[in-house]
């Protein structure tokens, strides 16, 4: 299996070199957090080259843009804080308090506050990004991990890895309104743009649960089967759903593939080969590409969402973890 991955990766690189010239000029910048290197790689999505490597705090993982997308926020887990950088100049701006061991975070649709999962304390910490203050701490299940906010901003979701649930938390009262059982070790939660569905990946369970947000129940479970790959190696983590909710992409961890799913029928249409141990994925704002972080092969795969295939591998730092992309 290894051999196949290598040779295919080489093929992808070769194919990438041929395709680059014909790409449209969509120069976004993608930020990749490198967990082991304490750096963030900045990729130009026109040239597909790393144009900057930012030195940041220890064990950078969760990463997103805030403050009108002018700020880059990074969970530096081993420093127990969130670092804020200028997304254009890459200059350090400030630290935000985060509670211990911040891993994943999500921003309220209004731009503030920020909800942070504190894995070691069974808490979700609510942080005012502008003031740099902790607003609230909400107790949740064992090992909180995935975070999502509903598009209307009324509900924040937290998944707990050992309790195996998605907790629905009211963003005004911080009361938990529902706890929905999913499969083992839920990692990432993602709303559809209309807010009607919540998709939750279960890394050990090997499934993605689709929750009807109004009914608060699981309406479908997506399972994956790849010839030649054992069931244990299929470990769904990152989820990206396009804006009109027709297509979804799910990163499958050590299966080294991203599944393409018809978001209406929930059927898996294709598996795209990417780098090794793919965890987090993100669309470019025009939805023409998906970038994946491949933690074991230390690279980012670029998927062409039209042709549904990987066309470029970009070497980044060690253990690439999170990805976020500017919209200009």
């Amino acid at each position: 299996m290894k051999v196949t991955v290598h040779s295919l990766a080489a093929a992808i690189v070769a194919a990438g070199a041929l395709c680059t010239a014909s790409l449209p000029a969509n120069a976004y910048r993608a930020f990749i957090s490198n967990e082991k290197d304490n750096t963030v790689s900045v990729i130009d999505t026109h040239t597909w080259k790393v144009i900057e490597t930012m030195k940041v705090g220890q064990r950078p993982r969760g990463i997103l843009l805030a403050h009108g997308k002018e700020w880059l926020l990074i969970c530096t887990s081993d420093d127990n804080r969130i670092e804020v950088y200028d997304a254009k100049t890459y200059a350090f701006i400030k630290n935000l308090p985060s509670g211990p061991d911040p891993e994943l975070m999500v921003l309220h649709p209004s731009g503030n506050p920020l909800y942070v999962a504190n894995e070691d304390d069974n808490l979700v910490t609510v942080v005012d990004v502008e003031e740099g203050k902790i607003v609230a701490k909400v107790p949740v299940g064992v090992e909180p991990e995935g975070m999502a906010v509903s598009p209307d901003g009324k509900t924040v979701i937290n998944t707990s890895e050992t309790t195996n649930m998605a907790h629905f938390i009211d963003t005004t009262t911080y009361e938990t309104k529902a706890n929905i059982l999913v499969d083992n070790r839920p990692r990432v939660a993602q709303f559809t743009d209309d807010g009607k569905q919540l998709w939750v990946s279960a890394e050990i369970g090997g499934t993605v649960s689709i929750i009807d947000v109004a009914k608060k129940e699981v309406i479908h479970k997506i399972t994956f089967e790849i010839p030649g790959i054992t069931a244990e190696a299929i470990q769904p983590v990152g989820i990206a759903i396009n804006k009109d909710a027709t297509k979804a992409f799910v990163a499958l961890g050590p299966a080294n593939r991203v599944a393409v799913i018809d978001a209406a029928t929930h059927t898996v249409e294709k598996y795209i080969l990417v780098g090794q141990r793919v965890w987090n994925i993100s669309f470019t704002p025009d939805e023409k590409y998906i970038l994946t972080t491949n933690g074991v092969s230390n690279d980012v795969t670029v998927i062409d969402t039209g042709k549904l295939r990987g066309f470029k591998s970009i070497p980044v730092g060690r253990y690439p973890w999170g990805v976020t992309i500017t919209d200009d």
Binding site: V135, K137, V138, G141, N164, N179, N184, I204
Partner: protein, 424 residues
Amino acid sequence: MVRNRQQRHSGLRPWRHRLVAVVNGSLAVLAGLISICMPSVSHGVAQDAKVTTISIVYASQERERLAPLSLLDFRPPSEGYDGAKLAIEDNNTTGRFLNQSFAMGDMLSAKRDELIEKVVAAAKSGTSFFVVDATADTLVALSDALNGLPAVIFNAGAHDERLREEDCRANVKHTAASYAMLADAMTQYLTWKQWTRLVLVSGPQPEDKLFAEALKRSAKRFGLKLLAEQEFVYEAGSRRADGGFEQVQKQIPTFTQEFPEHDVLLVSDVANQFGDYFPFRTWKPRAIAGTHGLYPTAWHPASELWGATQFQNRFQRLAGRVMKPVDYAAWMAVRSIGEAATRTNSGDPKVLIDYMLSPKFELAAFKGQKLTYRPWNAQLRQPIFVATPKIHVTVSPQPGFLHQVSVLDTLGLDEPETKCKAFR
């Protein structure tokens, strides 16, 4: 025992508690409140909802053990039990959302016959789940004594192959790894390293012999060459004799001098009586592996792989010490019961036991993949660390060892080889 209760179980907190939102500025005061109100989330659960209570007993056999060579290797008195206790807490965090409560009393600790008597009495009065740390003989006797009762034993402490093979019982599940699984994890790594020339030193204790046999079988299975074998004879119980190192540092080179040229010297000293004498004292500078030096283990107290950091921290907070393999096996046993109860929404022992052996069952246990029970002998499949005392070196199965069902079945005896008939 499984029963329904009209009111909340004493171990649970009121269902209708509010989640506490801590307002800026009063964090310190309210930090305490959070811990009090933590298990407080509800969803459509009425105050008087029926709570199903699932009782679990942890039973440990008192036995004479030789004092280990190193002071660092003495067993904590609550070894194993603390792991089960952590799993009870973990089960209850999920359970409170589902009206399920898990309860475990004090550790049941006694000598063989008394232990069997007490476990049978508990089973007769309604307890169905027993996590047991005992010798192979005791386990077999206990499982036979429980025959006919709706009870299941989780073997958390015995690695003996025969419990999974000719002496397997339908009412016993094994969360402890077998000697064959441990040996295969080790030799797969030696194969990967291409350290193929081996010599073996084993101790005189019965368990030393069992692990030595497993190493030999495994070496043969993966094509390594066992070139020589020696027994290490010692007088047990003299570990505190003062000034022993002068003699030991002369004795071990002499003992290893006659071995043929080898890459690795394997040591089988499960009883912890002499294995630590070998690293850095051999005639030639050679790697030591087996029970000492580089060793296979189902759990490593320093593992932070696959999100284990929080798991290790939770255990440290509960037990005030690091997690041992027996604690881990006990945790997996109690979590298996919890996972089955969660997924079946039942407290009926028969439903839970059947579910655990069904293809639907899967356990997340900080090993980077789902763990399942082998249907032919109820041994929990699991990746095994190959480690030195401070940190893991690798985790087996190694890359390239393939299997048509699960790569985890490259560790230990596989279905076509099994002598177990209890599950047919």
